[in-house]
Symmetry: C2
Subunit: 228 residues, 2 copies
DNA sequence: TTAATTTGTTAGTCATAACTAACTTTTTTA
DNA sequence: TAAAAAAGTTAGTTATGACTAACAAATTAA
C-alpha cells in the first residue's frame, strides 16, 4: 500500500521545520541553507532533518536536489509566514494584555502559534487593533501574509563612531532579554559605538548617558538601524 | 533498559484521557466507568484505551484492577480539573472578546486547553475579571481547582407541568448549539413542560411566548434547574 | 447453572518523529 | 589532484498512540 500523504493538515513538527527553513533563508539570504545547518538550528540530528525534508518535498512545501541546498515553494513560504504572524500576534497579546514581560512570551508563543483557527488569529489581530510590531520590534505580517521587512543589521557589524537606533532584539533567549532590560536598553534607544576592542571584539557603547561594554555574542542579537 | 516514564509532562493524549474519565465519572456518579465506555466516549478502539490506561496507572493518575472499573487518583483529578478550567476560560474569552458565537468555541478550546503555562491561564482569568461561568453555563474552576457544581438535571427528565430554568447546554455539538439559538432559547430562559408525548418521548415546551416541540435527544443536552 | 453476550486484554501492525551508526557524495585544503 | 574534512544519506532502533483480530474473563439471560 502506498503511503498516504496529508497534504493540508500539517503536524506541529512539519510547521516548525518550515518556519525554521524560512528564518534561515531570510536571515542570511546570500548563503544557501543545507541539511546540517537546519539540524543545528532545530537541535535535532541531520538524519531527522533529512527525513523530514523528504516528506516536505513529497508534499510540495520544499524543493531541493539530492545533496543540494534547500528552498521553500510558495506554499511553504505561505505556511511559514502565517506561523510567524501567529507567533508575533500572541507575543504582543501576552505582553500588552496579560502582564507578561518580553522575556516570558516566546516559549508560550511557540505553543500558541500551532493552534489551528483562522478566525482566532484574525480576531485577536482586530482585538488589538492591528499592531504593526511585536514586543521585540519584529514586524507582524497582516492577514494576507504581507509585511514590510525593515532594514536591520546587527550591532556587532558596526564600527567605532557609528550611531544607530535599536530596532529589534532576538526573542529566543530569556537570559539575553533580561540582560537587555537590566542595562536599560529599550526599543528605539539611540546607541553610539565608542570602541570596538580588537582583543575579544567586545564593544563599548553609550546610550541615555549610560556607558556599557557588551560582548560580541550580545551584539549579534541586537538589531539596529544605522543613523550616522 | 526499563521504560522511562515522563511522570510530569503529560502528552495531549494523556490529558484528553484524564479529562474524559473525569467527565464520565461526574456525569453519572452512580455508574462505574469501564474501558469500553471510555473507548466509546473518545471514539477510539478499546485496545487503545486499554493501552493508555496501563500507562496512566503506571504514572499514578488512574487506579483500576484488572477487568475492573476505572477511577482517578487525586493527581488525576487535579489534571482533569485544570484542563476543564482552561477549556472554559478560553471559551469565555473567545465569546466575550473575539466575536465567536457559542457554537464556534468548543473546537478551538479543545486545542487551547493543552497550552502549558500557568501564568497564561491565570492572567487570562484576571484579564476577564474572574468569570464564574462559561458561554454554555458551565462553572469555571478557580486557580485552586475549586468550583461549585450547580444542581442540574436534563430537560428530558422532567414531567408535564414542570417549570424550570435553562442553566447550561452541552457544548460539544455545533449543530445542537445553533439549533438552541435559532429557536430563541438562552441561558436562564424559563421553560414550562406542556406535554411529554408517550409515542416518541418528544416534549412540547413553552418559553417567552414561544411554543416548540423538541426531541428526546435535544432535551438530553439541555440542563435545567427545576423551579416548580 | 449453563450458554450467550458483553466487556476487557493481548498480540501484532502502522504512522510519526526522534535517535545512532555507518556509509556516500561533495567540497576544501594541502 | 589526491587526501582530508564536511555535508548529506541510509539503515536500523525507539517511543507514542492509533488500529484490527484473536482471545479471556465477567456478566446476563435462558
Ligand atoms: Mn513551533
Ligand atoms: Mn518576537
Ligand atoms: Mn483536548
Ligand atoms: Mn463550554
Amino acid at each position: 500500500m502506498t503511503n498516504k500523504l496529508n497534504l493540508n493538515n500539517l503536524t506541529k513538527s512539519e510547521e516548525d521545520y518550515l518556519k525554521a527553513i524560512f528564518q534561515l533563508l531570510i536571515e542570511d539570504a546570500s548563503v544557501k541553507v543545507g541539511n546540517n545547518q537546519l539540524a543545528d538550528y532545530l537541535k535535532v540530528s541531520p538524519a531527522s532533518t533529512n527525513n523530514m525534508i523528504k516528506k516536505l518535498k513529497a508534499k510540495g512545501y520544499v524543493v531541493s536536489e539530492k545533496y543540494g541546498k534547500l528552498d521553500l515553494t510558495e506554499r511553504g513560504k505561505s505556511v511559514a509566514v502565517r506561523l510567524i504572524r501567529k507567533h508575533r500576534l500572541w507575543e504582543t497579546f501576552l505582553c500588552n494584555y496579560l502582564n507578561f514581560t518580553w522575556d516570558e512570551v516566546h516559549d508560550v508563543a511557540e505553543q500558541l502559534e500551532h493552534i489551528k483557527s483562522r478566525k482566532l488569529i484574525d480576531e485577536l489581530d482586530r482585538f488589538m487593533d492591528f499592531p504593526k510590531k511585536d514586543p521585540h520590534g519584529e514586524m507582524i505580517p497582516n492577514a494576507n501574509g504581507e509585511y514590510s521587512i525593515i532594514p536591520k543589521i546587527t550591532l556587532s557589524s558596526l564600527s567605532e563612531g557609528d550611531v544607530c537606533q535599536l530596532v529589534a532584539v532576538n526573542d529566543g533567549s530569556v537570559h539575553f532579554l533580561k540582560y537587555v532590560s537590566e542595562i536599560g536598553l529599550v526599543l528605539s534607544s539611540e546607541i553610539k559605538i565608542l570602541e570596538v576592542r580588537e582583543f575579544d571584539k567586545s564593544i563599548r557603547i553609550k546610550f541615555d548617558n549610560t556607558i556599557e561594554t557588551v560582548t560580541r555574542k550580545f551584539a549579534d542579537n541586537v538589531f539596529v538601524n544605522k543613523v550616522v
